[in-house]
């Protein structure tokens, strides 16, 4: 049996088995972790095999696709797997980071009563995500796309008895659905022109088909809608911060490392569609830039340890989308990989903090944790530095490439990117200093704080090492694109990249590296803007009003239709009409014999005339 299928279906098998074995917690966890570790090991093996084969033979690694639905000569839907550099990279990221998070969950969810259910959902998610990564045609990726949305719903709303969690999971699913609507429309549009669903076929057929100019842009933008939903780009970004209601491993796995990256992956996979349309690329890069800047601004005014990280994810996703829009899929994927490492690291360390403080999440109730949880502090520090782009951690390299791309193509976007980088280091510094430095603000929780167990710390170490070294030797870019990225020596850029994170961290140190830091100076400087940022630019309120307005309108139309057309018109009309007919016919029965005789005669004459043949 082909290795690829084992990697894909092992988590599904684990999830199904856990359904029956829910009572045995250890067994459930073992199944789930075993499945993903198997996936990781086999992915590494696949990786080595891929490297050892010459390029022409590399396609042999893909298993033969299964013809799933054949509609005579119209179309065929396959179920297959595509193994190339892109999918192998994603396989390694998903299974690698996923394994770390699975092991982490052993410790984090230990006290939770629904322990087994958590692992079942995690395995389901892993299956769906791997499905996306391995898909070789549009329909398959769409199916797994939706499955991932479902897993996300199950995991965000894991503590479903909490109203906020239930609301958040609904919100995530619905906003995703909006994006998926565009996605499906795009898929169907492409199918109309090329008649095929497969990526390889479409890559060849699109330049020759009638799908050009305007229609191509439309199709590209519709497909991008799917990425907007999944990767939480403006304006469909509203679900990601609320998704922090889920347990921290979920936030790490889904909303930092893998699921949100699925959008980027999909964009790179279907880049043949975008490369023909300048307009679409332009739109994409700008949406990415706007998202990056907007999220960074909001993060400055947030007070929940996980929410800051969520907005930071949004911001970095904006970077990736911007990179794709500027034509640099390699750069986007590079940043995706490094981001997966350090963002997962950051989330897991935040989780470690939350665990240590017995589920306290407000940063203003923390402080001085450096002494109590040193290892966690170290992990968080590494993550912060990587995210800020400090040399020589991995984030520096990937950000460098993206900034270079922006500099060459669109100076305005470059300026936005620089500003965002500054803000990123600023708010990350703020979070670092407020949580780990200074004096403890809440003495009760501080006194009970303790370092997390080994099962939690080991994944942190693993991810920490990767965050440090993933950018070295240009290894990653070389793997993604065989030729690698062009080497550059741009001193201007080099200085910027050293200066910006430093200044950001420096400014935050100035404001927050004290015994009793507070947001007062920030609020004074920003003034009314602070309120705007704290309320996330009022997007949620705007959407709420929009939906209420449109739904109200729709409800009114439906009510009108139901009341007047259906009820008064059809139903009452039917009964009333029958009554009228009855009333009318009743008057024929007058009891008047002569009238009856008249009708008989008339009827007779008419019948005779009717029966006569025409001459």
């Amino acid at each position: 049996m082909n290795t690829v299928w084992i990697i894909l279906f092992a988590p599904l098998l684990a999830a199904s088995l856990i359904l029956f074995l829910k009572r045995w917690k250890a067994l459930s966890a073992a199944l789930s972790i075993g499945a993903i570790l198997t996936g990781f090991v086999l992915s590494v093996q696949l990786f080595y095999r891929f490297l050892s084969l010459p390029p022409e033979l590399a396609t042999q690694l893909s298993p033969t696709p299964l013809k799933w639905l054949v509609v005579s000569n119209l179309f065929t839907i396959e179920f297959g797997a595509l193994i190339d550099r892109l999918s192998i990279l994603m396989l390694l990221v998903v299974t690698g980071v996923g394994s770390a998070i699975h092991i982490y969950s052993l410790g984090y969810m230990k006290e939770d009563p629904s322990f087994s259910r958590f692992f079942a959902c995690l395995s389901l998610f892993t299956f769906s995500m791997l499905g996306i990564v391995l898909s070789n045609n549009f329909i398959q990726i769409f199916i797994f796309w939706e499955l991932v949305g479902l897993s996300s719903y199950l995991l965000i709303g894991f503590w479903f008895h909490k109203d906020s969690a239930a609301e958040a999971s609904k919100k995530a699913f619905l906003v995703n659905r909006i994006g998926d609507f565009g996605f499906m429309a795009g898929i169907l549009l492409i199918f109309t022109y090329t008649g095929h669903f497969g990526f390889a076929e479409n890559a060849q057929l699109i330049p020759q088909s009638g799908l050009q100019a305007g229609m191509l842009t439309l199709a590209a933008l519709l497909i991008f809608c799917g990425a907007m939903g999944k990767s939480a780009q403006f304006p469909l970004h509203v679900w990601l911060p609320d998704a922090m209601e889920g347990p921290t491993p979920v936030s790490a796995l889904i909303h930092a490392a893998t699921m949100v990256a699925a959008g980027i992956y999909m964009l790179c996979r279907t880049f043949f569609l975008f490369s023909g349309s300048e307009t679409a690329l332009h739109v994409i890069s700008w949406i990415g830039g706007i998202t990056a800047l907007m999220a960074a601004l909001i993060a400055v005014a947030q007070n929940d340890i996980k929410r800051i990280l969520a907005y930071s994810t949004l911001s970095q996703l904006g970077y990736m989308v911007m990179a794709v829009g500027l034509g640099g899929t390699t750069q986007a994927l590079f940043h995706l990989t490094t981001h997966a490492f350090f963002k997962a690291l950051l989330f897991l360390s935040a989780g470690s903090v939350i665990l240590a403080l017995h589920h306290e999440q407000n940063i203003w109730k923390m402080g001085g944790l450096r002494a109590k949880t040193p290892f966690t502090f170290l992990a968080f520090l590494i993550g912060t530095l990587a995210l800020a782009g400090v040399f020589p951690l991995s984030g520096f390299y990937s950000k460098d490439e993206i900034l270079l791309l922006a500099l060459h193509h669109n100076p305005l976007l470059f300026a936005i990117a620089i500003l965002t980088a500054f803000l990123t280091s600023f708010y990350m510094g703020r979070e670092l200093f407020v949580v780990f430095f200074g004096k403890a603000r809440d003495h009760h929780t501080y006194d009970h704080a303790h370092e997390s167990p080994l099962v939690v710390l080991l994944p942190l170490a693993f991810l920490g090492l990767l965050s440090i070294g993933a950018g070295w030797f240009g290894f990653l870019p070389h793997f993604i694109t065989p030729e690698g990225l062009p080497p550059h020596h741009n001193p201007f850029l080099g200085y910027i990249l050293l200066l910006v994170p430093a200044s950001g961290l420096g400014l935050s140190a100035l404001l927050y590296l004290k015994q009793n830091p507070s947001d007062n100076s920030l609020k004074k400087v920003l003034g009314p803007i602070y309120k705007l940022l704290e309320n996330k630019f009022y997007f949620d309120e705007l959407y709420k009003h929009l939906i209420r307005w449109t739904q109200g309108l729709l409800a009114q139309v439906c009510e009108f239709f139901d009341l007047y057309i259906l009820q008064k018109g059809a139903i009452n009309g039917l009964s009333g009409g029958t009554q009228m007919l009855g009333w009318a016919i009743r008057h024929i029965q007058t009891g008047h014999t002569r009238f009856y005789a008249f009708l008989i005669g008339l009827g007779l004459a008419c019948t005779l005339l009717f029966l006569l043949p025409p001459n």
Binding site: F598, G601, L602, A605, L612
Partner: protein, 175 residues
């Protein structure tokens, strides 16, 4: 024009006129007598059609028995001549409409069918052949008609019974 044709026109015109007078008279007795006249002319038409037996039966039964019954009933019920006219404009219009429609239907039908101008030479209208047919092929209807007349007779007797005293007494006696 031969005599039979003239006779045909005379008889049919007179018959139709009498029929019309039946409808227009105010006095029911006058209507009855006009009807008798109509029957007699009709019998004349029957003779022209060489249906001698039927003509005889027509006068005997229709004019002789049926119309007499009518006049008896008129006298029994003591029906006076009505003062107001026998029909209103509305009724006349309705009747006129119906009649004209029927006439139109009749005319159209006749237009579409083929005419037989000469009476068939194979016809033998004598009594013997008619009766032979009656008592062989139509034996069953003949017997049934007899039954029907019997039933009619019984029905008439029952219907025209007065609510007699012994009936009333018997219904009161049974509690």
């Amino acid at each position: 024009m031969a005599l039979p044709d003239i006779l045909f026109y005379v008889f049919s015109t007179l018959m139709l006129l009498s029929g019309l007078m039946v409808l227009l008279s105010r006095n029911p007795v006058t209507s009855a007598l006009f009807l008798v006249m109509s029957f007699i002319f009709l019998a004349g038409l029957y003779v022209l059609l060489e249906a001698y037996f039927v003509a005889a039966i027509q006068i005997l039964v229709y004019a002789g028995a049926v119309m007499v019954l009518f006049i008896f009933i008129i006298m029994l019920l003591d029906i006076k001549a009505s003062v107001k006219s026998s029909f209103t404009y509305l009724t006349a219009a309705a009747g006129g409409l119906m009649a004209s429609l029927l006439g139109f239907a009749l005319w159209q039908t006749l237009k579409r069918t083929s005419n037989t101008s000469l009476p068939s030479p194979h016809f033998s209208g004598d009594l013997k052949s008619v009766m032979r047919l009656l008592f062989t092929d139509y034996m069953l209807p003949f017997e049934l008609i007899a039954l029907l007349v019997l039933a009619a007779m019984i029905g008439v007797i029952l219907l025209s019974q007065k609510e007699s005293q012994d009936n009333k007494n018997s219904s009161q006696a049974a509690p």
